[in-house]
Amino acid sequence: MHGRQKKERTAEEEAAKEKERCKKVAAYRYAMGLILSKREKKELDEELLKITGQVLASNPDISTLWNIRKEVLTVLKETDFTNFSDVVVQKELDFSEFCLKSNPKSYGAWHHRVWLMRETNFSKVTSELKLCAKYLEYDDRNFHCWDYRRYLVENCSEVTLEQEFDFTTEKISSNFSNFSSWHLRSKILPKLPRDFLDEELELIRNAVFTDPKDQSAWFYHRWLLRSQLPTESPYLIAAQYSFTRLILTFSSKAPTPSQLGVKVVGTDKKIEGIKWTNPWSNTCSKLWECELQDENKNISVQADSSSMMRNFGNMPLSMKIGDIMRNFPNYFDTETEEKNDKLLNLLKEEIAWVQELQELEPDVKWPICTLIMLMRMVDFVGYKQSILTHLDSLMKLDSKRVNYYLDLRSKYLIEWKLVECSNTNTHGLDELLLDLSGLNLTALYYPERMCFHTKIDLSNNALKNCEPFRALVNCKELNLSGNELPKSKLKKTIKGLENLKIEC
């Protein structure tokens, strides 16, 4: 399939080919006309199957014809179910395979199989798995086939997970650079009722020590370790009530608070018809605000699930006008969240061997990327210097992605600054100054955590994007001098921000 040389054709061959093509087009036009008129006349019968089959056999990529076939098949299924499931389906599968033989990457032929599986409740799943194995033997990069196999694994309870697991092992053994096999594995593993972590890490180690430049195993490693982290739904970390405006900040990106089950209760009853917005009009955001129609002296923010309010004692949050309530966690995502000792020890072991490999192969980027992730997971503040050094070497090694690393660096620097800030300023909110100047930031992360600061110094950075400033609703003084921000855009962006002094 891959790496084949294109054959040059002579003019003679080209002419013959053209003649052939004209003939084909005529036949195709005729057949299509026939098919469409039959369908118009609602003649959904075996003959229609036959004609569509003839056309599809020479070109299996006409999805219209596959769909017409499905219409016919639905009729056949309704008229004679036994015949359909015993005879017709097998014929259809055979026909689809016939098409796959000429084009193993035909969307239509593979989709047809999916449809047939669904229609027959996966009765022929065993032979289908075999077919997948066969086609992956021919070409292990046929993603259609991988997709189909994953579809079967995910939707059919009869597929034995252990067998699928062994299948991926075999595929990975023969070619560990093919991420498709790792991907299928990552879909099976979480469903397996046993502890697989050590085995998997061993497999990954073997792969990356064999070829540290190959990204498949590294990606799988990243997925595997992240899958060990607790999944967390967003919860409330700050709220601010000023006159008619309520601003809520969540721990992670969240859909509208109403969808999360957050209610706002006025003096006596729930306030209905709240229209939540966020500064960027995104569907998910960490920051949500709303204008309350009526003036309420006191409001209470409540949630259906108590975990939503876990940072406020699992209790409804009572607020009066002018209140700013916040309880930011000292981490930023599940990776930086505190972990139990078992996981922590495992991560430390991971750091040890990745470091060993990194020392052997100082010029390969993946061990360094992985080290940064691991260090962030273990102690993102403690490893500050190492992470910065590693980022520097990544920028040198992988200069094509230097902007990505600069953004990462900005993100981490802001994290460290925010943690430092919350450690020193435990009380007193008003004169909060956030000094992020001169850090060579290329992007502003966590603006939702800065919406309570009144003075923010972002001078002498390399910021280019104005959008995050929309979140700085309480900021009275914003120093943006020494950045490359586009002035016109800046004006538009911060129009809504009152009392803002900008030094550019």
């Binding site: 054959k7 070619n175 064999t210």
Partner: protein, 620 residues
């Protein structure tokens, strides 16, 4: 008696020589003159025969022996045990040479010496059982592994000769560890997949092995794919001055791995050169490593089904298709240089030829032209052919993964042992054929091959008889469970203690001249053209050198012509084209042989054909 139609193949190809009245026939139907006379049917001579005949020049191809191949021959068990290859064609031992200003003689060289054979299992039943399947054996006089990117493969594909051949992948390369662990066999992981799954290497070892491989591959890795034919041209060696040892030092490879890589790529010549692992070794490593993955992932090597002689015969067949005439068991008695060529006296008739190419079995001495002995340095190789029973040489467990029964190559204490089961078509079911080759650095040594082999291989195979009980046991298990591979699985537990039993062994020394760079023995310069006597004599474990030799002789004779252009597919509508065809999957024998051997006159030797082997395979 041959008529015109009999000899001429019905290919309708425009290159087939036109037979006109200018080329009358002699008494036995042989035309009176030819462009080229070739003596010997080794691989170089066969390739030349095909190349010359293919371009429309007439070829008379003789071999004084009664079989094809010379030292490239393959034998059935009865031919082998009756020592066919030892028979020196006495009449051919001297052929007089009358040149313009000097005289000379061609003498016959026999390469096999000190042949010794014995049956370790003396019971007649086993012996007769083997003999009843004698035609299922295809025993190479000198077994050859072919690397998938060697020039010969390229030539097979581009010339379309590959359609006559079938290859098997060598399943694994294994080696025993250096002393004191010489009893331990480990498989040599060389492909990415192998290194990845290997359980005998530590993580750091894996890393350094890959690094070494990368270092070896580096200098020309990008060029390899575009110009596979150029990879082994000697000039290229100069582009990298690093020796294997340099790279080993650079990549800090541990000794165990160094041993493994070394033993995978060692060839016989390395055994003779004091600094065996030099720059050339590096370039060979590169060729072998690049060969991995071309036809499967395990090893770089291919094996010719039905024996290496098939390769010679395939080229001979192409030559015959284009009108080349083959006669086996035909000797020369006199060669005389004339105005415009040579007059050659064979037993029955006299032919005129423009050029003569002598195979390595012919030694040419021209009086006054003293070719000193040192130019003809020769290699002596120790050989053993063993037939064993009771499964395979014990391999480490991890090899259970590729259920690849078939052919395994072991490098055991400096010996190359090729172990074949019936899939190789070299040995019948339930038996194994062990082809052992090793360098004998001191040709004067008195130690017989047998004692060398028996000593070095005794940790792995049983030369003396087991107790009756043991034999009964393993025979019983084997026969009880039908298919070979199943029986192997079921007996692995018992095989742990029982080594394969050698039933039959033969031992000999094989001599071939080493790496002679010159080809021209005699040139008769004329106004319009030169007439040559060339020798295709070359000895090497590397097929590449034979191919290069053929090319160089061809370009001397026909400097302006293309070497073996693709032959048209006259019999196969969907024939192979280009590089991508897996030769290992090519159909074995073509169904309608281009030339039907039966119609060819008996004086003209049989066109090589696989039918014989197929017939044997169909028995029982």
């Amino acid at each position: 008696m041959a008529t015109e139609g009999d000899i001429r193949p019905e290919t309708g190809d425009e290159h087939a020589p036109e037979e006109t009245n200018d080329n009358p026939r002699g008494d036995d139907g042989l035309p009176k003159s030819f462009d080229v006379l070739i003596i010997g049917t080794g691989v170089t001579e066969s390739i030349l025969s095909a190349a010359i005949s293919r371009n429309g020049h007439s070829v008379l191809h003789l071999d004084p022996r009664e079989y094809y191949g010379g030292t490239w021959a393959t034998f059935s068990l009865d031919q082998w045990t009756s020592k066919t290859f030892l028979e020196t064609p006495t009449e051919a031992s001297v052929c007089d040479l009358y040149l313009e200003d000097s005289k000379g003689a061609l003498t016959w060289r026999n390469n096999v010496e000190q042949f010794e054979q014995l049956w370790y299992l003396k019971d007649e039943e086993t012996k007769s059982q083997l003999m009843s399947q004698k035609r299922r054996f295809n025993i190479d006089l000198m077994p050859r592994l072919i690397a998938a990117r060697e020039d010969i493969i390229q030539i097979l594909i581009t010339s379309n000769v590959s359609r006559y051949l079938e290859f098997l992948k060598i399943s694994r390369l294994l080696t025993n560890l250096p002393p004191p662990n010489e009893d331990v066999i480990e498989s040599i992981p060389l492909s990415r997949a192998d290194i990845f799954t290997s359980k005998s290497l530590s993580l750091v070892e894996k890393r350094s092995l890959v690094k070494l491989i990368e270092a070896v591959l580096q200098p020309t890795s990008s060029v390899q794919d575009e110009a596979p034919l150029e990879t082994s041209v000697p000039e290229e060696v100069e582009t990298t001055s690093e020796t294997f040892e340099d790279l080993v030092k650079k990549t800090k490879v541990p000794d165990k791995l160094k041993h493994m890589v070394k033993s995978s790529f060692t060839t016989l010549e390395d055994g003779f050169s004091p600094d065996g692992f030099n720059v050339e070794f590096c370039s060979r490593c590169r060729l072998f490593l690049n060969s991995i993955g071309r036809y499967g992932n395990q090893t770089p090597f291919l094996w010719t089904i039905y024996g290496i002689s098939e390769v010679c015969q395939a080229f001979c067949r192409l030559s015959a298709v284009y009108g080349g005439i083959f006669i086996l068991k035909r000797h020369l008695s006199r060669i005389e240089a004339k105005e415009d060529g040579f007059v050659v006296q064979t037993e029955k008739d006299e032919v005129k030829v423009k050029h003569i190419i002598l195979g390595p079995d012919m030694q040419c001495d021209i009086i006054g032209k003293d070719r000193s002995k040192k130019e003809q340095a020769s290699i002596v190789v120790g050989r053993a052919v063993l037939i064993t029973k009771g499964g395979s040489i014990k391999r480490p467990d991890e090899n259970s993964k590729p259920k690849g029964d078939g052919i395994f190559v072991y490098r055991l204490s400096g010996m190359e042992v090729i172990e074949m089961n019936h899939i190789s078509q070299a040995v019948p079911k339930d038996y194994r054929l062990l082809q052992v080759t090793f360098p004998i650095s001191d040709p004067e040594t008195t130690q017989p091959c047998r004692s060398i082999v028996e000593t070095l291989l005794s940790p792995f195979v049983q030369f003396r008889k087991h107790t009756e009980e043991c034999m009964e046991d393993s025979v019983g298990t084997n026969s009880s469970s039908g298919a070979e591979c199943c029986s192997e699985d079921s007996t692995t537990t018992t095989e742990e203690t029982i080594k394969p039993q050698v039933i039959y062994g033969s031992y000999f020394k094989l001599t071939y001249s080493c790496d002679s760079l010159f080809s021209e023995l005699y040139r008769n310069s004329r106004e319009n053209s030169d007439n040559y006597i060339m020798t295709s004599d070359i000895g090497s474990a590397e097929l590449t050198k034979y191919v290069l030799k053929a090319k160089s002789i061809f370009s001397t004779l026909y400097p302006d012509e293309e070497f073996l252009p693709k032959a048209p597919d006259c019999d196969e509508p969907d024939a192979m084209n280009g590089d991508d065809i897996d030769t290992s999957e090519l159909s074995p024998a073509i169904e309608n042989p281009v030339v039907n051997p039966e119609v060819v006159n008996e004086a003209v030797a049989q066109i090589p054909n696989d039918n014989e082997n197929e017939g044997a395979a169909g028995e029982g």
